[in-house]
Amino acid sequence: MKDRVSPATVPLRKPAEVMRLSRMGAAFPTRLSFLPTLLRRLAAEGARVERTVWEIDRQGYGHAVYTVPLGGHVYSLVAVSTHLPDDQRSDRVIATAWDTAYVLYDGVPSAAECERICADAPRQEAARFDRRDLVLSRANKSVRLFQHVVDSLRAGQQPDRSRVHKTGYLMRTTAVYGNGKFGIGDRAWIADRAGLSGPFMAEMLTVWLIRGFTHDLVEHLGGATLDRGIKRYLGIGNATGLGMAPFLVSHPLLLDAWMQVRETALARARAVERLTDTERQRFATLSTRVACHLDGWTVADVGAMERIDRLRREWPRLMAEFDDAAMERSFPIDALICASRQYSVDLQELTVAFAIEPFGDLVDALTDCMASPFTPRIDPSMDLGTFRMALMCDWDWALALDYSSVKQSALFWYVSEEKLEPRLGRRYDEPGADRESPLDIARQVQALAHDLDKMRDASLAGFLEHHPEHRSAIRRVQTLARFPYAEIRDNLIAETCRPIDMLRCKLAFFGAARFDPKSDLWTRITLAQGAPLFDELDRADDWWLPVMGAA
């Protein structure tokens, strides 16, 4: 841990509170999220993006290459743009063609490598890739906005600001693959490199570069320059579905690390006794920005819109309590967090992100702890008494549920043979539950506890010899005892489970905002909205919750 100074802190929020789906599904991006972390790093290094190849024709098809140095290495985005018939444009994993395809390449690709990538990247999952290909992605044009922007520029005008505001991006990625998929480089290959050692850094670099390419492409097609304020507001869209949700279950130590970092940052902010004038000023500015952001965040989903509306009503009320006098009292952030508890969970989580934002000096170094070099390991030498204690302390909620009831076992997670698309089935209405993915963690732990109850005077190793089927659950229980934020503390097969809560939590850690849920299963989001453009890395520290025309 590079963060050697130990600032004052208060106790962290308890995992039993933080790790509930309803709260995870209310998460907001923070300055600790991965994309802002990456951009601060690029800025600190004085990195410059160069467009070294632009072989794009008048219709906008062809390829381009962008290179950027980071941590002593050079990376290149190879962007390939091809014609896509309108009826093939789809957000789904089962799509087979896209407007654009991308590879983040380790180094600068030769002409032959470019040729290979141009041939293979548009095929995505159907092709095989090389270890120097670090990330594979694709993006489709936003039908709502892309052509409008091109047409406006061609007519010598800037695009309609309200339409830019409504969509917020020119293209939407529908997958960003890293870590070995389809033969691309394993994360282990780059995990020790400065700048890419944090989680999803290569993926974040890719989406930020893609966003810049989408700007260049509309300017190329429109034959004119986009207004800088508009351009900055155009992030990169993303459609994310179920496939992202199991990651949080299959990477418990990463989940713990992310939560520990955010909760530690919050605890440090709460332990600040007095705000400086600069910090007070900053909070005042951010308070207005949050209100503007909420005002501009409009979605079609009725339930999601109701939540945003409530946030719009609650935010000014909370801010009325966080006035100049409140900010001058001792421990004002702690008081703010306490005050937020009388409002919705959405507001509480927004307040967490708000409370952390001005304290870069205090919290930014914590992002070095976002990655975990460890993997969960079983300890067969643990005595049964200690193990039973861990079960009772951390899993009481799971042991209390009745998984034979329809309500507590209504859903099953599975992978479809159709392009391996992850799906969620209804156990009592659909076939396939015999092949369900093991996301029924709570049920597994209860089954373990049940068999353990029948076991007397044996060691854990002895128990495992009789019950090898509980090896996985035992490891999870032991992991949670050491890493308290490693598990979602909800039944993921219950009728009430909403995968979108898991997606939002993970996407907020990426730095996504403007969540636009399309069902309980998938959401659209915007990344890098308000983020610095390629030539603006000197302002990489202040774009939390973007507002059009700000900064």
Binding site: D86, R89, S90, D91, R92, V93, I94, R131, V143, R144, T174, N179, G180, K181, F182, G183, I184, G185, D186, A188, W189, A239, G241, L242, G243, T375, R377, I378, D379, P380, Y414, V415, S416, E417, E418, L420, P422, R423, P431, G432, R435, S437, P438, Q444, A461, L464, E465, P468, E469, H470, R471, S472, A473, I474, R475, P499, K518, S519, L521, W522
Partner: protein, 152 residues
């Protein structure tokens, strides 16, 4: 053929589940991916594919528990290279003593980069992995994530 270590991890986990071994063992085999040699992958794929070997694989996990606790354990009909990779995934090592398996230093991780696997081994793993996939139906397709809002 060459596969990324992360691909080997994912394929092994699915293959283990498809083969019907315990989830915990499937996870431990998958976590051996960074340490597995070409021969280790072959041995693992063969043992997963042959249902008769599943009991031996489960015993391997139990014996590794004993070795992890510093004890010796009876030998098993599992290639040492596979056992060492699984042990390394768990953070320790194992070696063959005069007659019994005994604790040792963990073997070194393979160099980062893809691993060479035989076509036969990969085919075995792929066939087993397929057993975890659910056949598509019109209904499941229609209710999948991303459905219903294309092209806006």
């Amino acid at each position: 053929m060459k596969v990324a270590r992360a691909e080997l991890y994912a394929q092994t986990l699915r293959a283990g589940r498809g083969a019907g071994i315990s989830l915990g063992l499937a996870e431990e085999l998958a976590e051996a991916a960074p340490w597995l040699s070409t021969k280790g992958v072959e041995a693992m794929a063969r043992m997963l594919y042959e249902a008769d070997s599943h009991g031996v694989l489960e015993q391997m996990a139990a014996r590794l528990d004993r070795i992890q606790m510093g004890q010796n354990a009876d030998s098993l009909a599992v290639p040492l290279t596979l056992m060492q990779a699984v042990a390394a995934g768990r953070g320790f090592g194992v070696e063959m003593g005069k007659r019994r398996l005994k604790p040792a230093a963990a073997i070194a991780r393979a160099k980062p980069g893809p691993v060479q696997v035989s076509k036969e081994a990969w085919t075995c793993l792929t066939r087993l992995a397929k057993r975890t996939f659910v056949p598509a139906t019109d209904a499941s397709r229609a209710s999948g994530a991303g459905a219903g809002a294309d092209g806006d």
